[in-house]
């Protein structure tokens, strides 16, 4: 923990153009945004088996020095131990609020993304199954897809989302976006002047929803209804992602490619 941040720190995720799914892309982008906000250099490395390499089974994970840390929560703690913290200036009540809002995003937005990807039959057949197993030969691609789908559906059933219809899920997304929009108001970031990990998390999810093309545009329409949220995404993109040439080209290229292929 006392070592400085190395130059060759890497962030691993699945293959950007063929394999990665909406929810994983959102999580990965959130971590990238957070590290950019802390001014820590990171290289994005795409591997087909990123999920299996990760210590917790979830992407993204970062490889720093000789340590491997996955998921935004533990990564924030790890970075804090190295001496970089975005939420130092907040008082206790604000920290409690920040944690609560991060849970809201995880609870509603992430679960809704997972639902849309794995429980909505049309999306599963046309987008998720082809993408998830694409790096692997037949029949492994089908087996892995079905296995993951079964796992996600079990989880949905345990938390009570299996009985929801798509309309109800979209309504929940709308409620969540409304809450975020009202909390953001006219401020540049959620806690006024300085960005925090909450801004990174919200950016990751909303930007991915806005720039990913699915079967219908209903999900991104829900976010577009709130103009301060789209302005927020654009502001963070301009400030943290267009300064680095390679990153801006990948983000622009990614959205262009997304609109061509499904």
């Amino acid at each position: 923990a006392a070592e400085p941040w190395p130059e060759n720190a890497a962030l691993y995720q699945q293959l950007k153009d063929e394999q990665i799914l909406l929810s994983d892309n959102a999580s990965s982008l959130a971590v990238q945004a957070f590290l950019q906000m802390c001014n820590l250099p990171i290289q994005v490395v795409c591997r087909a088996n990123a999920e299996y390499m990760s210590p917790s089974g979830k992407v993204p994970f970062i490889h720093v020095g000789n340590q491997v840390v996955s998921e935004l929560g533990p990564i924030v703690q790890f970075v804090k131990a190295k001496g970089h913290c975005l939420s130092d200036g907040l008082d206790e009540v604000q920290k409690a609020e920040m944690k609560a809002y991060m849970e809201l995003v995880n609870n509603m937005l992430l679960t809704a993304e997972l639902y849309l990807q794995w429980c909505d039959d049309v999306t599963v057949e046309e987008i998720t199954h082809p993408r998830y197993g694409s790096p692997y030969p037949w029949p492994l691609n089908h087996i892995l897809s079905y296995q993951k789908q079964w796992e996600v559906r079990r989880k949905m059933k345990a938390i009570g989302w299996a009985g929801k219809t798509l309309e109800q899920v979209l309504e929940d997304v709308d409620q969540c976006c409304q809450a975020l929009s009202q909390r953001l108001g006219t401020q540049p970031y959620f806690f006024n002047k300085q960005p925090t990990e909450l801004d990174a998390l919200v950016f990751g999810h909303l930007f991915t929803i806005l720039t990913t093309q699915l079967i219908t545009d209903e999900l991104s329409e829900k976010v577009k209804n709130y103009s301060n949220l789209t302005a927020f995404c654009r502001r963070i993109e301009q400030q943290y992602f267009e300064g680095h040439d390679k990153d801006s080209s990948t983000i622009a290229a990614r959205s262009a490619k997304r609109s061509l292929l499904r």
Partner: protein, 312 residues
Amino acid sequence: MAAPMELRCWGGGWGLPSLHPQSLTVMAYAKFSGAPLTVNTLSSSWKAPKEDLPFLISEDNVISQPAKILNFLRKQKYNADYELSAKQGADTLAYIALLEEKLLPALLHTFWIEAENYFSVTKPWFASRIAFPLSLYLPGKMSREALNRILLTKGGPPLYSVTEVEAQIYRDAKECLNLLSKRLGTSQFFFGDTPTTLDAFVFGFLAPVYKVCFPRVQLQEHLKQLPNLCRFCDDILSCYFRLSVSGHSPAGQDTADANLQKLTQLVNKESNLIEKMDDNLRKSPQHPPRKLTTLKLAAGGEESGPFNRLSP
């Protein structure tokens, strides 16, 4: 709007109107918003409920799940969030998500999975409330569902054994309690002087942890170290639920009752402080006898619970 509404839910004990967090949340919200609900608690003479408890019946509509029930009450103009600003409404949603993600797993674990608690308290209590032979099957099913939920949401790698998951969820729950305590600070309710949806949810989750006497009580001990949360639960119990022992207030007398409640709140606060000092002195000798008699007095326990605290 004038249609009679009936709420069916799990009954209570240990001074609480209900032991089930979701049922308690709905009951608290109904009291805060002045909705005239007839509360019917499940007893062993009832048929098995088809939907999950709690559920609300109003003119042939059957609504389950607390969020939907609260929405329905709001549409019927029983709105406890009337005075909240948009930002406070957003905060409500965020804190409810925090409660569900961080506190609920530990709550479920304390009630349903911790072996000593489950076999000595939870299972007998719930089994006594349902008709035979369902009482043999339903508590076990609820326990299995709770374990499933915890393992699926919290138990991925690198946490490979149930004990590691337990350690993690209790840590999360204690952190959540600390956050709630910091957010509440010294104010009466979470958003000023009137209780809202968030207060109903927090009360629903905290009160069972606070009041029910379990053999293994690490969460309760942690909660007792946060005096403002304990005071919050006690206030709501004494103001909103002691009055209901004799019956519920009809919708027409809402404002008069609200004023009366505020006055009684102030008076009760003072007497509560004095009682607490008395209670602290008496707590240690009282505990062992309470454990033995709890199961026997389960039926009459709810009535004698609040009254015990009044008589010094």
